[in-house]
Amino acid sequence: MFAEFLQFLLSGITIGAIYALAGLGFSIIYNSSHVINFAQGEFIMVGAMSTVALVGTGVPLPVAILIAIVATMLVGLALEKFAIEPARNADVVTLIIITIGASIFLRGVAQVLWGKDFHSLRAFTGDTPINIMGATIVPQSLWVLGVTMVVIIALGWFFSRTLAGKAMLATSYNRLAAQLCGIAVKRVLMLSFGLSAMLGAIGGIVVTPITFTSYEAGIMLGLKGFTAAVLGGLGNGAGAVVGGLIVGVAEAMGAGYISSAYKDAIAFVIILFVLFFMPSGLFGKRATDRV
């Protein structure tokens, strides 16, 4: 009984960690621009697919990963520069549609470049399962969890200790005031897209040995990432991580104890329930409207 529970929990946390990384990407962009970037899932896909493509041409894995992360960041920067910035004063819904257009575009390009097949990467450190009190976990899951943790710690350090990070935080609190203090808001925007793209790429790469990837892999992960970010409270990094873990664990427990057909619905029911009582998510700032 306990082994079963532990198995569900471990599976849920592994998947939840991926959702958390995707959710963090949403949060960072939201913080600096109040844009919900529906192309976040495509960052995940681009990172994974370009790594697969590079490895396929014989590039060693670590080098391929580095190039892929840089390439994805460039995609993120280009998205900000050519699609978001020119439309900065547009309505929220308009911006959503722009990012949705971008996601369709990126999927289309990926499909032309890399075809429609599913791809996998070799697990970083083998496939021998690790037994933990009757439950099992693949070594790659530890990579996912470890990398997620490192990323979260690094982000925490970045936002609290570096000038650039502080500038980003300041911009998210009050854009005008930040501008008055001499923060180059435009550069903060660029930075946030680059950072989110990097997070997406890292998440996509570490998880590919477990879940595989294809040009459409970003749709589902993006959706779950958005869910995680909203559940935790938009703009709250820690919230996104908690949100991702809750969604992941809820799905695994739902599939294990209730019904595998309804596991996705269970996650969404939880979110609706949370939102009914906490309209700004678990850790979101209470929104105040200016008149």
Partner: protein, 384 residues
Amino acid sequence: MKMMLKGGAVAGVALAAGLAVGVAQAADPIKIGATLSVTGGASFLGDPEKKTLEMYVDAINKDGGVLGRKIELIVYDDAGAPDKATSNVKRLLQNDSVDIIVGGSTTATTMAAVPLVEKAEVPFISLAGAVVIIEPVKKWVFKTPHTDRMAAEKVFADMKKRGITKIGLISEDAGFGKSGHDESLKVAPNYGIQIVADETYSPKDPDVTAQLTKIKNAPGVQAVFNFGFGQGPAVVTKNYRQLGITVPLYQSHGVASKSFIQLAGESAEGVRLPAAGLVVADQLPANDPQKAVVTSFNKEYKAKWGSDPSTFAGHAYDGLQIALAAIQRAGSSDKAKVRDEIEKTSGYVGTGGMVSMSPTDHMGLSLQAFHMVEIRKGDWVLID
């Protein structure tokens, strides 16, 4: 609306121009239409199918076509969405006036097209699996792949041989897996097999360990059967090994492509599945009638596209060959005559097996057409 108007007008002019050209030419091309799931969740079906059709239509046109007429292939992508398939088929029937339709990569897109082709009285050869396509028999509808019921029967027969009576079933909750699941439940008792655990997953689930844990803990499970296609079965296979489940794992014919082995990697070792002779072409005995056909198809496809063809590519090959042979025999592209000739297809040896259709059997394959294969050292090994 204005855009529509303009588009409509352009299309109208184009059509008129097309007609004028048509009259000027001595012989109109034979038009083969196709709606395939080239993108979307079922793209690993539709993509090789499209490649196969294009490649052979080109080759045949270079050799002068059929009945002295060129073949024109019109393919539209339905992304696996039945409502898109409906609108594609309407377009093929009414705008492109095709002589015959090949395709419908999935059961859902095929069934969406069925009422339209029946009404328009155009022969239709589906490339999808489920038994509902040909049962009950529909006058204008045929199919080339083996049915999901046959796959279940083949698997259960193999289990019976190994003395397995209690199994866990895990299936995808979308079209192919759901239909396969239902057929499996139906035929299992015929082989004395009892399904003691019955789980599902969504096509894009990154993890199914929760479902597999339940199956693992179900009392008396002697084997597990997975019905699904795409990345799902690869995830199932990987998680299966991760959980250290030791009883045999069976997959359906939905994974009979090399990409499954590539995705699942070493986890795929020992997995058994029913598949067409195509995947084990070189292991077929020399006297097997299929040997020559599948060997040359394999070679031609690989030469053109650089990868081994999946059995799905083979379904499209068979569909095209059956259609063209029927047109040849009918001596024209007259729809009613072609339909009658397709129904009379007899002893055609294709990638799926020997096809002999009849008014009551619009698929024409028998269980013999299926081979049981096991994955060993990253390759298919014929085991019966």
